[in-house]
C-alpha cells in the first residue's frame, strides 16, 4: 500500500491531509465524530498574545459553492489556550499546529517566542491576513515588506517549524513565497480565505456584521490551485495547499500542482470526516497508479 506520510519542515504527518485553522475549533468539537489521530495534523483556530473578542454577529454567510466568514479571530489568548486546550490536544497522537497572529510586529514575534516552550506544539502557522493596527492601513499579508518583517521577527524568536500562511489577494504570490523561504520559514501554506462580501438586498446591509469577510469553499478552489502551483514553483520548502477541498480529487489537484500536504477547511462543516476520507482517496489513487509514496505525485503537473 502506498505511503502517504509526509514531512513538513520536520513535522511528521501520517497523512498529507490536515484540518484548516478556524474550521475545526480546538479539537474537542469534532472529537466525537472524527478520530483525531487519523488526521495529518490539527491546525487550531488563530491565537494571539492576549484574549480577543472577535467580531459581532452575523459572522458567516453562505454563498454559491462557498461561504463568507468574518469571525474576527476571537481567542482566549496564549495563556488561556495553553491552559484550557493543550491538555486535551496532548492526548492524541497527532501533530498540533498552532495558527498564530498579531496586531503588530512585536505581537507576532512575542507569540512565536511564547509557543517555543510549550509542550505538544509541533509548529506554528502564521496568519498574516490581518490588519496591522499600529502602522495603519497596510496588511501583513499583502505588503511584502511588512510580511518580511513579521516572519523574520518570528524566526529569531522560535525554533518551532514556522509556516507562513499566504494571503491570496496579491498580484505576485511568488514574491511572498520566496520571501517566506528567505526569512527561514520551514514551509508555507496557502490560501487563506479571499476578501469578499455579500449584501442583504432587502435591508441593504452587509450580510456580515464586519461588512467584509473571507470567501472559502469550492468556489475558490481553482484560484487556490493556481496560487499553489505558482508558489511551489518559486520555493524549495514544502507547500501546504488549501482552498475548497471537498473531495480527494480536489486534494490531488493541489498535490499535482506542487503541494506536499493539503488542508481541509469549509468541508468540515459539511462532512467532518472529509479529511479522513480525502486521505483514503489519495492513498487509493496512489495505489491505482502504482506510486509508492505521495511524494511521487507532488508537483508532477505536465504543462
Amino acid at each position: 500500500m502506498s505511503d502517504v506520510s509526509v514531512n513538513i519542515g520536520g513535522i511528521r504527518m501520517k497523512t498529507p491531509v490536515m484540518v484548516a485553522s478556524g474550521t475545526f475549533g480546538y479539537g474537542p468539537e469534532y472529537a466525537d465524530l472524527v478520530d483525531l489521530s487519523g488526521l495529518g495534523a490539527i491546525v487550531v483556530k488563530g491565537i494571539c498574545v492576549e484574549p480577543t473578542l472577535g467580531n459581532m454577529t452575523p459572522r458567516t454567510a453562505e454563498t454559491r459553492s462557498g461561504m463568507l466568514n468574518a469571525i474576527g479571530l476571537p481567542n482566549p489568548g496564549f495563556e488561556g489556550f495553553v491552559e484550557k486546550h493543550m491538555p486535551f490536544l496532548r492526548q492524541y497522537d497527532v501533530p498540533v499546529i498552532v495558527n498564530v497572529w498579531g496586531r503588530t510586529l512585536e505581537e507576532y514575534a512575542d507569540i512565536a517566542e511564547k509557543f517555543d516552550s510549550v509542550d505538544g506544539v509541533a509548529g506554528l502557522e502564521v496568519n498574516v491576513s490581518c490588519p496591522n493596527i499600529k502602522e495603519g492601513s497596510g496588511l501583513f499579508g499583502t505588503d511584502l515588506n511588512m510580511f518580511r518583517q513579521a516572519i523574520a521577527g518570528m524566526r529569531e524568536r522560535t525554533r518551532l517549524p514556522l509556516i507562513p500562511k499566504l494571503a491570496p489577494n496579491v498580484s505576485d504570490i511568488k514574491s511572498f513565497a520566496r520571501t517566506a523561504e528567505d526569512c527561514g520559514a520551514d514551509a508555507i501554506s496557502l490560501i487563506n480565505s479571499y476578501p469578499a462580501m455579500a449584501i442583504d438586498i432587502n435591508t441593504r446591509r452587509p450580510k456580515l456584521a464586519n461588512v467584509t469577510g473571507g470567501l472559502s469553499g469550492p468556489a475558490i478552489h481553482p484560484i487556490a490551485v493556481k496560487l499553489v502551483w505558482e508558489a511551489s514553483s518559486a520555493v524549495n520548502i514544502p507547500v501546504i495547499g488549501m482552498g475548497g477541498i471537498m473531495t480527494w480529487e480536489d486534494a490531488v489537484e493541489f498535490i499535482i500542482a506542487g503541494a506536499t500536504a493539503v488542508a481541509v477547511g469549509t468541508a468540515n462543516f459539511v462532512n467532518p470526516l472529509t479529511a479522513i476520507e480525502v486521505a483514503g482517496g489519495i492513498r487509493e489513487f496512489l495505489d491505482r497508479n502504482g506510486m509508492a509514496s505521495v511524494s511521487e505525485l507532488t508537483g508532477t503537473l505536465e504543462t
Binding site: T23, P76, G80, P272
Partner: protein, 278 residues
C-alpha cells in the same frame, strides 16, 4: 452526538406550509434531550453547501422527526424529499431545556417551529401547565391537539384573529397572568422569534421567575467549531463572554442573554469554555 446517513420514512405537509419530516435514525433518536436539534445535510442542494439546523420535534421508536417551513433555498428544496431518500444527520446537538422545577407551574410560549421544539419538553415535564402558541394566522399554529393530549392547556393567539385570541402571544400571557394565579411559580420555556424570547424574558425577570429561551441564531458548523452562532452571555461577575448557541445553547436562562443593542457590559474573556451544563 453522531453523524449518520438516515432514511426518510415519512414526509407530509401538515398545514400553512409546514411539513413533517420523519427519519429512521435509531442511535440519534435514543440520545435526544428536550430542546436539542439536528444538523441536516440536504442532498444535492445545488450550490448551497452548509447544513441546516432543525429542532427535534419528536424522537421515539428509533424515529426522529422535525417540523419545518420552506423559507429559503434549503427548506424549499427539502419539499422534494420522499420516503426512502437518504439524508445525512448530525445530532443530537446542543443543550436544551431543563426539567421543569418541582412545585412550579410550567408555561410554554411558542411561535412557528417553536411549538415543535417544545414538544419533547412538554411530554417529559411531570407537571403540565399552560402553553401559549402565537402566530400570524391559523396556519401557523401547530400541534395543538398533540399538546392537549399530553395534558397541557393550550391558548392560541393569532395576529389576524383567525384562530384563538387576536393579538400577539404576550398579550394572551399578560391577560392570563392577570386573571389566574397558577399553583406554583410560573417557569417559562420559550421558543420562537427573538422578539418573543426577549418579551417573555423581560416579564420573567420583572416577576422574578425563570424563563428558558431557545435562541434562533444563525449556525454554520453546529458543533462549536466555527464560532458563528455566538451570543453574549452574562458571566457571574457581571461582565460577559461569548457562548455558542450550538454548543452551550441553544437554550439559555433569559437573565444570561445580553441582546444586541443592550447597554454595554464589560467583555470579560472571549474564552469559549466547554461548559458542561447537562
Amino acid at each position: 452526538m453522531n453523524l449518520r446517513d438516515v432514511t426518510v420514512i415519512e414526509h407530509v405537509e401538515v398545514q400553512g406550509g409546514y411539513r413533517l419530516l420523519v427519519m429512521d435514525a435509531p442511535d440519534i433518536a435514543a440520545q435526544v434531550q428536550p430542546g436539542q436539534f439536528i444538523h441536516l445535510q440536504i442532498p444535492d442542494l445545488r450550490d448551497a453547501l452548509l447544513r441546516r439546523p432543525f429542532s427535534i420535534y419528536n424522537a421515539e421508536n428509533n424515529r426522529l422527526s422535525v417540523l419545518y417551513k420552506g423559507v429559503g433555498v434549503g427548506t424549499r428544496w427539502m419539499a422534494d424529499l420522499k420516503p426512502g431518500d437518504p439524508l445525512s444527520v448530525m445530532g443530537p446537538l446542543g443543550h436544551g431545556f431543563p426539567i421543569a422545577e418541582a412545585g412550579g407551574y410550567p408555561v410554554l410560549v411558542a411561535g412557528g417551529y417553536g411549538m415543535a421544539a417544545l414538544y419533547i419538553a412538554a411530554r417529559e415535564s411531570r407537571q403540565k401547565g399552560t402553553a401559549f402558541f402565537g402566530g400570524a394566522s391559523a396556519g401557523d399554529i401547530l400541534c395543538v391537539p398533540e399538546f392537549e393530549a399530553l395534558g397541557w392547556e393550550v391558548r392560541v393567539t393569532t395576529e389576524d384573529g383567525s384562530l384563538g385570541m387576536k393579538g400577539i402571544v404576550t398579550d394572551a400571557m399578560d391577560e392570563w397572568l392577570a386573571q389566574n394565579r397558577p399553583e406554583g411559580e410560573p417557569e417559562y420555556f420559550v421558543c420562537g422569534p427573538s422578539g418573543m424570547l426577549k418579551a417573555v424574558g423581560e416579564r420573567a425577570m420583572k416577576a422574578g421567575t425563570k424563563a428558558w429561551i431557545s435562541l434562533d441564531n444563525n449556525m454554520c458548523c453546529g458543533v462549536g467549531a466555527c464560532l458563528t452562532c455566538v451570543q453574549k452571555i452574562r458571566t457571574a461577575d457581571g461582565a460577559w463572554e461569548w457562548q455558542r448557541a450550538c454548543r452551550e445553547g441553544p437554550v439559555f436562562e433569559c437573565r444570561e442573554v445580553i441582546w444586541d443593542g443592550e447597554e454595554s457590559v464589560e467583555h470579560r474573556t472571549s474564552n469559549i469554555e466547554h461548559r458542561t451544563k447537562s
